[in-house]
Protein backbone atom coordinates (compact mmCIF):
# COMPACT_ATOMS: atom_id res chain seq x y z
CA UNK A 1 0.00 0.00 0.00
CA UNK A 2 1.49 3.28 -1.09
CA UNK A 3 1.18 6.57 0.65
CA UNK A 4 -1.18 9.07 -0.93
CA UNK A 5 0.45 11.06 -3.72
CA UNK A 6 1.94 14.37 -2.80
CA UNK A 7 0.25 16.17 -5.67
CA UNK A 8 -3.01 17.98 -4.72
CA UNK A 9 -5.51 15.22 -4.51
CA UNK A 10 -8.62 15.86 -6.64
CA UNK A 11 -10.75 14.21 -3.95
CA UNK A 12 -9.71 16.85 -1.50
CA UNK A 13 -12.53 18.92 -2.98
CA UNK A 14 -14.60 16.96 -0.55
CA UNK A 15 -12.91 18.75 2.30
CA UNK A 16 -14.11 22.13 1.15
CA UNK A 17 -17.20 22.24 3.30
CA UNK A 18 -15.03 21.49 6.29
CA UNK A 19 -12.35 24.03 5.58
CA UNK A 20 -14.72 26.76 4.47
CA UNK A 21 -18.30 26.16 5.56
CA UNK A 22 -19.56 29.52 4.33
CA UNK A 23 -21.96 31.97 5.91
CA UNK A 24 -25.22 30.27 5.01
CA UNK A 25 -24.12 27.34 7.15
CA UNK A 26 -24.15 29.50 10.24
CA UNK A 27 -27.49 31.05 9.38
CA UNK A 28 -29.09 27.68 9.07
CA UNK A 29 -27.45 26.51 12.28
CA UNK A 30 -28.86 29.51 14.12
CA UNK A 31 -32.32 28.92 12.76
CA UNK A 32 -32.15 25.28 13.72
CA UNK A 33 -30.83 26.09 17.16
CA UNK A 34 -33.73 28.44 17.74
CA UNK A 35 -36.16 25.72 16.77
CA UNK A 36 -34.41 23.24 18.99
CA UNK A 37 -34.37 25.60 21.94
CA UNK A 38 -38.07 26.22 21.50
CA UNK A 39 -38.59 22.47 21.35
CA UNK A 40 -36.68 22.15 24.56
CA UNK A 41 -38.93 24.70 26.17
CA UNK A 42 -42.00 22.89 24.91
CA UNK A 43 -40.68 19.64 26.31
CA UNK A 44 -39.95 21.17 29.70
CA UNK A 45 -43.44 22.57 29.68
CA UNK A 46 -44.73 19.08 29.01
CA UNK A 47 -42.71 17.69 31.90
CA UNK A 48 -44.02 20.42 34.15
CA UNK A 49 -47.70 20.11 33.32
CA UNK A 50 -47.81 16.45 32.45
CA UNK A 51 -48.63 14.64 29.27
CA UNK A 52 -51.99 16.36 29.27
CA UNK A 53 -50.55 18.98 26.95
CA UNK A 54 -50.43 16.37 24.22
CA UNK A 55 -53.43 15.13 22.31
CA UNK A 56 -53.26 11.64 23.73
CA UNK A 57 -56.07 10.25 25.85
CA UNK A 58 -57.78 7.00 26.67
CA UNK A 59 -57.90 4.72 24.75
CA UNK A 60 -55.38 6.22 22.31
CA UNK A 61 -52.61 6.28 24.86
CA UNK A 62 -49.80 6.33 22.39
CA UNK A 63 -49.46 8.99 19.77
CA UNK A 64 -46.85 10.96 17.92
CA UNK A 65 -43.99 10.10 20.21
CA UNK A 66 -44.26 6.40 19.64
CA UNK A 67 -45.01 6.91 15.95
CA UNK A 68 -41.93 9.05 15.57
CA UNK A 69 -39.92 6.63 17.62
CA UNK A 70 -40.72 3.84 15.22
CA UNK A 71 -40.32 6.13 12.24
CA UNK A 72 -36.92 7.50 13.19
CA UNK A 73 -35.55 4.14 14.18
CA UNK A 74 -36.87 2.89 10.84
CA UNK A 75 -34.96 5.56 8.96
CA UNK A 76 -31.86 4.53 10.83
CA UNK A 77 -31.88 1.30 8.90
CA UNK A 78 -30.77 3.24 5.97
CA UNK A 79 -27.56 3.28 6.97
CA UNK A 80 -25.78 0.57 8.56
CA UNK A 81 -27.81 -2.16 7.07
CA UNK A 82 -27.43 -0.88 3.51
CA UNK A 83 -23.82 0.00 3.78
CA UNK A 84 -23.06 -3.25 5.51
CA UNK A 85 -24.92 -5.28 2.93
CA UNK A 86 -23.29 -3.39 0.07
CA UNK A 87 -19.91 -3.75 1.66
CA UNK A 88 -20.45 -7.38 2.37
CA UNK A 89 -21.57 -8.04 -1.19
CA UNK A 90 -18.59 -6.03 -2.44
CA UNK A 91 -20.77 -3.74 -4.51
CA UNK A 92 -18.19 -1.27 -5.68
CA UNK A 93 -20.68 1.49 -6.38
CA UNK A 94 -21.26 1.76 -2.68
CA UNK A 95 -18.07 3.71 -2.06
CA UNK A 96 -19.41 7.30 -2.20
CA UNK A 97 -22.61 6.58 -0.32
CA UNK A 98 -21.77 4.31 2.61
CA UNK A 99 -20.73 7.06 4.96
CA UNK A 100 -23.77 9.18 4.26
CA UNK A 101 -25.91 6.20 5.14
CA UNK A 102 -23.98 5.44 8.31
CA UNK A 103 -24.26 9.00 9.55
CA UNK A 104 -28.00 8.91 9.11
CA UNK A 105 -28.09 5.83 11.27
CA UNK A 106 -26.08 7.25 14.12
CA UNK A 107 -27.93 10.56 14.30
CA UNK A 108 -31.40 9.26 13.77
CA UNK A 109 -30.93 6.48 16.29
CA UNK A 110 -30.00 8.98 18.94
CA UNK A 111 -33.13 10.99 18.17
CA UNK A 112 -35.40 7.97 17.87
CA UNK A 113 -34.01 6.48 21.05
CA UNK A 114 -34.99 9.61 22.95
CA UNK A 115 -38.60 9.44 21.91
CA UNK A 116 -39.74 6.83 24.42
CA UNK A 117 -38.29 9.07 27.10
CA UNK A 118 -40.24 12.02 25.77
CA UNK A 119 -43.25 9.77 25.90
CA UNK A 120 -42.82 8.97 29.59
CA UNK A 121 -45.26 10.45 32.04
CA UNK A 122 -42.59 10.46 34.71
CA UNK A 123 -39.20 11.00 33.06
CA UNK A 124 -37.81 11.73 36.52
CA UNK A 125 -38.31 8.07 37.35
CA UNK A 126 -36.14 6.82 34.50
CA UNK A 127 -33.77 5.38 37.06
CA UNK A 128 -36.39 2.83 38.01
CA UNK A 129 -35.44 1.07 34.81
CA UNK A 130 -32.01 0.47 36.21
CA UNK A 131 -32.99 -0.67 39.66
CA UNK A 132 -36.22 -2.44 38.92
CA UNK A 133 -36.30 -3.05 35.21
CA UNK A 134 -37.97 -6.15 33.92
CA UNK A 135 -36.33 -7.90 31.03
CA UNK A 136 -39.63 -9.55 30.26
CA UNK A 137 -40.97 -6.29 28.94
CA UNK A 138 -40.41 -5.65 25.24
CA UNK A 139 -39.60 -2.08 26.20
CA UNK A 140 -36.46 -3.34 27.92
CA UNK A 141 -35.56 -5.43 24.91
CA UNK A 142 -35.76 -2.23 22.99
CA UNK A 143 -33.51 -0.38 25.34
CA UNK A 144 -30.95 -3.13 25.07
CA UNK A 145 -31.15 -3.54 21.33
CA UNK A 146 -31.16 0.17 20.58
CA UNK A 147 -28.19 0.70 22.82
CA UNK A 148 -26.41 -2.13 21.05
CA UNK A 149 -27.37 -0.82 17.66
CA UNK A 150 -26.40 2.72 18.50
CA UNK A 151 -22.98 1.74 19.75
CA UNK A 152 -22.44 -0.70 16.91
CA UNK A 153 -23.43 1.77 14.24
CA UNK A 154 -21.35 4.53 15.80
CA UNK A 155 -18.37 2.21 15.84
CA UNK A 156 -19.19 1.18 12.33
CA UNK A 157 -19.31 4.81 11.29
CA UNK A 158 -16.20 5.73 13.14
CA UNK A 159 -13.78 3.00 12.18
CA UNK A 160 -13.91 3.53 8.41
CA UNK A 161 -13.60 7.23 9.06
CA UNK A 162 -10.24 7.03 10.81
CA UNK A 163 -8.14 7.39 7.60
CA UNK A 164 -10.15 10.44 6.56
CA UNK A 165 -9.76 12.00 9.97
CA UNK A 166 -6.04 11.44 9.57
CA UNK A 167 -6.14 13.34 6.28
CA UNK A 168 -7.83 16.24 8.03
CA UNK A 169 -5.27 16.05 10.81
CA UNK A 170 -2.44 16.05 8.33
CA UNK A 171 -3.85 19.05 6.53
CA UNK A 172 -3.96 20.90 9.81
CA UNK A 173 -7.66 21.54 9.80
CA UNK A 174 -8.90 23.11 13.01
CA UNK A 175 -9.74 22.06 15.63
CA UNK A 176 -6.60 20.02 15.42
CA UNK A 177 -6.90 18.38 18.80
CA UNK A 178 -10.17 16.83 17.72
CA UNK A 179 -8.69 15.18 14.65
CA UNK A 180 -5.58 14.27 16.55
CA UNK A 181 -7.69 12.65 19.21
CA UNK A 182 -9.98 10.83 16.83
CA UNK A 183 -7.42 9.67 14.27
CA UNK A 184 -5.96 7.21 16.76
CA UNK A 185 -2.52 7.65 15.24
CA UNK A 186 -3.48 6.54 11.73
CA UNK A 187 -0.59 6.70 9.33
CA UNK A 188 -1.89 4.49 6.61
CA UNK A 189 0.62 1.73 7.08
CA UNK A 190 -0.15 -1.63 5.69
CA UNK A 191 -0.43 -3.07 9.16
CA UNK A 192 -3.02 -0.46 10.08
CA UNK A 193 -4.98 -1.09 6.91
CA UNK A 194 -5.04 -4.73 7.66
CA UNK A 195 -6.35 -4.11 11.18
CA UNK A 196 -8.98 -1.77 9.84
CA UNK A 197 -10.10 -4.22 7.19
CA UNK A 198 -10.38 -7.05 9.62
CA UNK A 199 -12.30 -4.97 12.14
CA UNK A 200 -14.68 -3.84 9.46
CA UNK A 201 -15.29 -7.35 8.29
CA UNK A 202 -16.22 -8.37 11.80
CA UNK A 203 -18.43 -5.34 12.26
CA UNK A 204 -20.27 -5.88 8.98
CA UNK A 205 -21.25 -9.30 10.13
CA UNK A 206 -22.23 -8.15 13.62
CA UNK A 207 -24.14 -5.07 12.54
CA UNK A 208 -26.56 -6.75 10.16
CA UNK A 209 -28.21 -9.03 12.73
CA UNK A 210 -28.24 -6.26 15.31
CA UNK A 211 -29.95 -3.94 12.85
CA UNK A 212 -32.51 -6.54 11.95
CA UNK A 213 -33.07 -7.33 15.59
CA UNK A 214 -33.68 -3.69 16.44
CA UNK A 215 -36.57 -3.25 14.16
CA UNK A 216 -37.93 -6.67 14.84
CA UNK A 217 -37.97 -5.84 18.50
CA UNK A 218 -39.66 -2.52 17.89
CA UNK A 219 -42.36 -4.40 16.08
CA UNK A 220 -42.54 -6.71 19.10
CA UNK A 221 -43.63 -3.79 21.25
CA UNK A 222 -46.85 -4.03 19.32
CA UNK A 223 -46.87 -7.66 18.35
CA UNK A 224 -46.42 -8.90 21.93
CA UNK A 225 -49.75 -7.45 22.99
CA UNK A 226 -53.00 -9.19 22.16
CA UNK A 227 -54.50 -6.17 20.49
CA UNK A 228 -56.23 -6.50 17.15
CA UNK A 229 -54.08 -5.26 14.31
CA UNK A 230 -50.93 -5.66 16.35
CA UNK A 231 -50.83 -9.26 17.39
CA UNK A 232 -49.22 -10.59 14.24
CA UNK A 233 -46.25 -12.82 13.54
CA UNK A 234 -45.44 -11.01 10.34
CA UNK A 235 -44.75 -7.78 12.18
CA UNK A 236 -41.01 -8.38 12.67
CA UNK A 237 -40.03 -8.77 8.99
CA UNK A 238 -42.72 -6.28 8.00
CA UNK A 239 -41.15 -3.61 10.17
CA UNK A 240 -37.65 -4.47 8.99
CA UNK A 241 -38.66 -4.19 5.36
CA UNK A 242 -40.44 -0.94 6.05
CA UNK A 243 -37.43 0.37 7.89
CA UNK A 244 -35.01 -0.39 5.09
CA UNK A 245 -37.50 1.03 2.65
CA UNK A 246 -37.74 4.35 4.47
CA UNK A 247 -34.00 4.28 5.06
CA UNK A 248 -33.19 4.07 1.36
CA UNK A 249 -35.59 6.89 0.64
CA UNK A 250 -33.90 8.99 3.30
CA UNK A 251 -30.46 8.38 1.80
CA UNK A 252 -31.68 9.23 -1.64
CA UNK A 253 -33.08 12.53 -0.44
CA UNK A 254 -29.90 13.35 1.39
CA UNK A 255 -27.75 12.40 -1.59
CA UNK A 256 -29.73 14.65 -3.86
CA UNK A 257 -29.51 17.52 -1.39
CA UNK A 258 -25.78 17.11 -0.89
CA UNK A 259 -25.17 16.72 -4.56
CA UNK A 260 -26.90 20.00 -5.15
CA UNK A 261 -25.44 21.93 -2.22
CA UNK A 262 -21.83 20.74 -2.38
CA UNK A 263 -21.74 20.18 -6.13
CA UNK A 264 -20.85 16.55 -5.80
CA UNK A 265 -21.98 15.60 -9.27
CA UNK A 266 -18.56 14.11 -9.82
CA UNK A 267 -19.05 11.65 -6.97
CA UNK A 268 -22.72 11.00 -6.82
CA UNK A 269 -23.34 9.98 -10.38
CA UNK A 270 -26.61 9.10 -12.00
CA UNK A 271 -25.64 5.48 -11.82
CA UNK A 272 -25.68 5.59 -8.04
CA UNK A 273 -29.14 7.03 -8.06
CA UNK A 274 -30.21 4.53 -10.61
CA UNK A 275 -28.99 1.57 -8.56
CA UNK A 276 -30.44 2.89 -5.33
CA UNK A 277 -33.75 3.77 -6.87
CA UNK A 278 -34.06 0.30 -8.28
CA UNK A 279 -33.38 -0.96 -4.79
CA UNK A 280 -36.11 1.40 -3.56
CA UNK A 281 -38.48 0.01 -6.15
CA UNK A 282 -37.72 -3.51 -5.04
CA UNK A 283 -38.35 -2.57 -1.42
CA UNK A 284 -41.57 -0.89 -2.42
CA UNK A 285 -42.78 -4.11 -3.99
CA UNK A 286 -41.63 -6.06 -0.98
CA UNK A 287 -43.39 -3.63 1.32
CA UNK A 288 -46.56 -4.01 -0.67
CA UNK A 289 -46.27 -7.75 -0.49
CA UNK A 290 -45.97 -7.63 3.29
CA UNK A 291 -48.79 -5.15 3.67
CA UNK A 292 -50.96 -7.28 1.47
CA UNK A 293 -50.23 -10.45 3.44
CA UNK A 294 -50.75 -8.68 6.73
CA UNK A 295 -54.17 -7.32 5.84
CA UNK A 296 -55.31 -10.31 3.86
CA UNK A 297 -54.80 -12.69 6.76
CA UNK A 298 -56.64 -10.28 9.02
CA UNK A 299 -59.47 -9.89 6.57
CA UNK A 300 -59.78 -13.57 5.78
CA UNK A 301 -59.83 -14.55 9.44
CA UNK A 302 -62.68 -12.09 9.92
CA UNK A 303 -62.29 -11.90 13.64
CA UNK A 304 -64.74 -9.15 14.68
CA UNK A 305 -62.30 -7.01 16.61
CA UNK A 306 -59.73 -7.38 13.88
CA UNK A 307 -62.33 -6.34 11.34
CA UNK A 308 -63.27 -3.28 13.34
CA UNK A 309 -59.70 -2.07 13.06
CA UNK A 310 -59.54 -3.21 9.45
CA UNK A 311 -62.56 -1.23 8.36
CA UNK A 312 -61.45 1.70 10.45
CA UNK A 313 -58.38 1.82 8.24
CA UNK A 314 -59.95 0.90 4.94
CA UNK A 315 -63.11 2.94 4.98
CA UNK A 316 -63.39 4.58 8.38
CA UNK A 317 -61.79 7.59 9.92
CA UNK A 318 -58.31 6.49 8.91
CA UNK A 319 -59.12 5.73 5.29
CA UNK A 320 -57.61 8.98 3.94
CA UNK A 321 -54.34 8.21 5.68
CA UNK A 322 -54.41 4.59 4.67
CA UNK A 323 -54.94 5.24 1.00
CA UNK A 324 -52.44 8.08 0.99
CA UNK A 325 -49.98 5.65 2.46
CA UNK A 326 -50.65 3.08 -0.23
CA UNK A 327 -50.23 5.76 -2.89
CA UNK A 328 -47.07 7.16 -1.36
CA UNK A 329 -45.45 3.84 -0.62
CA UNK A 330 -46.49 1.82 -3.59
CA UNK A 331 -48.28 3.50 -6.48
CA UNK A 332 -46.15 6.60 -6.80
CA UNK A 333 -42.75 4.88 -6.50
CA UNK A 334 -43.95 2.15 -8.81
CA UNK A 335 -44.98 4.59 -11.48
CA UNK A 336 -42.00 6.89 -11.14
CA UNK A 337 -39.26 4.34 -10.73
CA UNK A 338 -40.29 1.57 -13.06
CA UNK A 339 -40.23 3.93 -15.99
CA UNK A 340 -36.77 4.83 -17.23
CA UNK A 341 -38.04 8.22 -18.37
CA UNK A 342 -39.17 9.28 -14.95
CA UNK A 343 -36.30 7.68 -13.10
CA UNK A 344 -34.46 11.00 -13.15
CA UNK A 345 -33.15 12.95 -10.20
CA UNK A 346 -36.40 14.94 -9.72
CA UNK A 347 -38.43 11.77 -10.19
CA UNK A 348 -36.36 9.95 -7.63
CA UNK A 349 -36.59 12.89 -5.26
CA UNK A 350 -40.37 12.91 -5.48
CA UNK A 351 -40.56 9.15 -5.05
CA UNK A 352 -38.23 9.23 -2.05
CA UNK A 353 -40.05 12.03 -0.30
CA UNK A 354 -43.34 10.31 -0.92
CA UNK A 355 -41.94 7.12 0.55
CA UNK A 356 -40.77 8.96 3.66
CA UNK A 357 -44.19 10.49 4.10
CA UNK A 358 -45.85 7.18 3.34
CA UNK A 359 -43.75 5.33 5.85
CA UNK A 360 -44.52 7.88 8.52
CA UNK A 361 -48.19 7.39 7.74
CA UNK A 362 -47.72 3.66 7.99
CA UNK A 363 -46.45 4.05 11.56
CA UNK A 364 -49.43 6.26 12.30
CA UNK A 365 -51.75 3.68 10.84
CA UNK A 366 -50.22 0.93 12.87
CA UNK A 367 -50.19 2.74 16.20
CA UNK A 368 -53.45 4.69 16.35
CA UNK A 369 -56.27 2.58 14.87
CA UNK A 370 -55.59 -0.45 17.04
CA UNK A 371 -55.71 1.70 20.15
CA UNK A 372 -58.69 3.70 18.96
CA UNK A 373 -60.81 0.58 18.58
CA UNK A 374 -60.87 -1.22 21.91
CA UNK A 375 -62.40 -4.65 22.09
CA UNK A 376 -65.12 -3.92 24.59
CA UNK A 377 -68.02 -1.67 23.60
CA UNK A 378 -66.30 1.62 24.20
CA UNK A 379 -66.73 4.49 21.81
CA UNK A 380 -64.04 4.78 19.17
CA UNK A 381 -61.12 6.80 20.43
CA UNK A 382 -60.08 10.06 18.93
CA UNK A 383 -56.57 11.36 18.58
CA UNK A 384 -55.75 14.87 17.51
CA UNK A 385 -52.10 15.71 18.11
CA UNK A 386 -51.54 18.96 19.92
CA UNK A 387 -49.06 21.70 19.04
CA UNK A 388 -46.69 20.21 21.59
CA UNK A 389 -46.43 17.02 19.63
CA UNK A 390 -46.00 18.81 16.33
CA UNK A 391 -43.29 20.99 17.84
CA UNK A 392 -41.43 18.02 19.20
CA UNK A 393 -41.69 16.32 15.82
CA UNK A 394 -40.30 19.42 14.15
CA UNK A 395 -37.63 19.57 16.82
CA UNK A 396 -36.65 15.98 16.10
CA UNK A 397 -36.29 16.72 12.42
CA UNK A 398 -34.30 19.86 13.25
CA UNK A 399 -31.95 17.95 15.47
CA UNK A 400 -31.44 15.53 12.63
CA UNK A 401 -30.66 18.28 10.13
CA UNK A 402 -28.41 20.07 12.59
CA UNK A 403 -26.64 16.85 13.46
CA UNK A 404 -26.06 16.08 9.84
CA UNK A 405 -24.83 19.58 9.14
CA UNK A 406 -22.47 19.49 12.07
CA UNK A 407 -21.14 16.19 10.91
CA UNK A 408 -20.61 17.52 7.42
CA UNK A 409 -18.94 20.55 8.96
CA UNK A 410 -16.30 18.47 10.69
CA UNK A 411 -15.98 15.31 8.65
CA UNK A 412 -16.16 14.46 4.97
CA UNK A 413 -19.53 12.94 4.08
CA UNK A 414 -17.96 10.94 1.29
CA UNK A 415 -15.21 8.59 2.21
CA UNK A 416 -12.09 9.93 0.57
CA UNK A 417 -9.85 7.01 1.23
CA UNK A 418 -12.39 4.45 0.13
CA UNK A 419 -12.82 6.23 -3.17
CA UNK A 420 -9.11 6.37 -3.61
CA UNK A 421 -8.85 2.77 -2.70
CA UNK A 422 -11.57 2.03 -5.20
CA UNK A 423 -9.80 3.88 -7.92
CA UNK A 424 -6.52 2.19 -7.27
CA UNK A 425 -7.54 -1.33 -6.50
CA UNK A 426 -11.12 -2.11 -7.26
CA UNK A 427 -10.87 -2.34 -10.99
CA UNK A 428 -8.26 -5.00 -10.63
CA UNK A 429 -10.09 -6.74 -7.83
CA UNK A 430 -13.37 -6.74 -9.69
CA UNK A 431 -11.79 -8.14 -12.82
CA UNK A 432 -10.22 -10.86 -10.76
CA UNK A 433 -13.49 -11.54 -9.04
CA UNK A 434 -15.43 -11.73 -12.25
CA UNK A 435 -12.95 -14.03 -13.84
CA UNK A 436 -13.20 -16.21 -10.79
CA UNK A 437 -16.98 -16.52 -11.35
CA UNK A 438 -16.49 -17.55 -14.96
CA UNK A 439 -16.01 -21.11 -16.09
CA UNK A 440 -12.35 -21.89 -16.34
CA UNK A 441 -11.43 -22.38 -20.02
CA UNK A 442 -8.38 -24.46 -19.14
CA UNK A 443 -10.16 -27.11 -17.17
CA UNK A 444 -11.96 -29.54 -19.39
CA UNK A 445 -15.53 -30.46 -18.59
CA UNK A 446 -15.82 -33.42 -16.33
CA UNK A 447 -17.09 -36.45 -18.01
CA UNK A 448 -20.41 -38.02 -17.23
Amino acid sequence: MEKAPAAPNPDYDLLRPIEDPGKSFYYIVIVLLVIILYTGYVYIRQVYYGLGVTGMAQPVTWGFYIINFVFFIGISHAGTLISAILRLSKAEWRRPITRMAEVITAIVLAIGGLHPIIDLGRPDRMTHLFYNGRLQSPLLWDIVSITAYFTASTVYLYIPMIPDIAILRDRGVKPRWLYEFLSWGWQGTEQQHKVLDRAMNILMVVVIPIAISVHTIISYIFAMTVQPGWHSTIFGPYFVVGAIFSGIAAILVLMIVFRKVFHLERYLKLIHFNYLSVLLLVMSLLWFYFTFSEYLTGYYGHEPNEMRVFWYKFSGAFAPYFWTMVTCNFLLPLILLSNRKTRTIPGILIASISVIIGMWLERLIIVVPSLANPRLPYPTGIYIPSSTEWTLFLGGVSVFILGYMMFARFFPVISIWEIQEGRQESAKAVTERITSYMPDPQTPLAKG
Binding site: F130, V144, I159, Q187, Q192, K194, R198, V206
Partner: protein, 80 residues
Amino acid sequence: MNYKLIDRLQILSISLIWLLFTGIAVWILNLIKESLRLHDAPDASLGISLVAIPVFFTLSSVLTYVFIGLRKGRKKDVES
Protein backbone atom coordinates in the same frame (compact mmCIF):
# COMPACT_ATOMS: atom_id res chain seq x y z
CA MET B 1 -0.44 20.55 21.01
CA ASN B 2 -0.06 18.25 23.92
CA TYR B 3 0.36 14.83 22.36
CA LYS B 4 0.76 13.17 25.67
CA LEU B 5 -2.56 14.50 26.92
CA ILE B 6 -4.31 13.38 23.77
CA ASP B 7 -2.74 10.00 24.12
CA ARG B 8 -3.99 9.73 27.68
CA LEU B 9 -7.45 10.85 26.61
CA GLN B 10 -7.57 8.20 23.94
CA ILE B 11 -6.75 5.49 26.43
CA LEU B 12 -9.29 6.97 28.80
CA SER B 13 -12.01 6.92 26.18
CA ILE B 14 -11.37 3.29 25.40
CA SER B 15 -11.55 2.38 29.04
CA LEU B 16 -14.71 4.39 29.40
CA ILE B 17 -16.25 2.36 26.64
CA TRP B 18 -15.31 -0.78 28.48
CA LEU B 19 -16.75 0.70 31.61
CA LEU B 20 -19.99 1.48 29.80
CA PHE B 21 -20.34 -2.00 28.41
CA THR B 22 -19.42 -3.64 31.66
CA GLY B 23 -21.98 -1.38 33.27
CA ILE B 24 -24.62 -2.57 30.85
CA ALA B 25 -23.67 -6.16 31.55
CA VAL B 26 -23.82 -5.58 35.28
CA TRP B 27 -27.20 -3.91 34.89
CA ILE B 28 -28.56 -6.85 32.94
CA LEU B 29 -27.19 -9.29 35.47
CA ASN B 30 -28.77 -7.24 38.21
CA LEU B 31 -32.11 -7.44 36.46
CA ILE B 32 -31.74 -11.20 36.18
CA LYS B 33 -30.98 -11.40 39.85
CA GLU B 34 -34.08 -9.36 40.62
CA SER B 35 -36.25 -11.50 38.42
CA LEU B 36 -34.90 -14.62 40.10
CA ARG B 37 -35.57 -13.17 43.50
CA LEU B 38 -39.12 -12.20 42.64
CA HIS B 39 -39.85 -15.22 40.45
CA ASP B 40 -40.66 -12.80 37.71
CA ALA B 41 -40.06 -14.57 34.40
CA PRO B 42 -36.34 -15.28 34.93
CA ASP B 43 -36.26 -17.43 31.79
CA ALA B 44 -37.08 -14.49 29.58
CA SER B 45 -34.51 -12.37 31.29
CA LEU B 46 -31.86 -15.06 30.94
CA GLY B 47 -32.61 -15.55 27.27
CA ILE B 48 -32.23 -11.90 26.50
CA SER B 49 -29.05 -11.50 28.47
CA LEU B 50 -27.53 -14.48 26.65
CA VAL B 51 -27.83 -12.55 23.41
CA ALA B 52 -27.23 -9.05 24.61
CA ILE B 53 -24.13 -9.35 26.73
CA PRO B 54 -21.93 -11.06 24.09
CA VAL B 55 -22.94 -8.45 21.54
CA PHE B 56 -21.76 -5.62 23.71
CA PHE B 57 -18.51 -7.35 24.47
CA THR B 58 -17.89 -8.12 20.81
CA LEU B 59 -18.30 -4.46 20.03
CA SER B 60 -15.92 -3.32 22.69
CA SER B 61 -13.42 -5.97 21.71
CA VAL B 62 -13.49 -4.84 18.10
CA LEU B 63 -12.90 -1.27 19.18
CA THR B 64 -10.04 -2.28 21.40
CA TYR B 65 -8.61 -4.43 18.66
CA VAL B 66 -8.61 -1.48 16.27
CA PHE B 67 -7.19 0.80 18.90
CA ILE B 68 -4.33 -1.48 19.76
CA GLY B 69 -3.82 -2.57 16.16
CA LEU B 70 -3.50 0.99 14.94
CA ARG B 71 -1.01 1.81 17.66
CA LYS B 72 1.05 -1.25 16.88
CA GLY B 73 0.94 -0.54 13.17
CA ARG B 74 2.39 2.93 13.51
CA LYS B 75 5.69 3.66 11.82
CA LYS B 76 8.60 3.72 14.23
CA ASP B 77 9.81 7.20 13.30
CA VAL B 78 6.71 9.05 14.40
CA GLU B 79 6.81 7.26 17.69
CA SER B 80 9.42 9.59 19.14
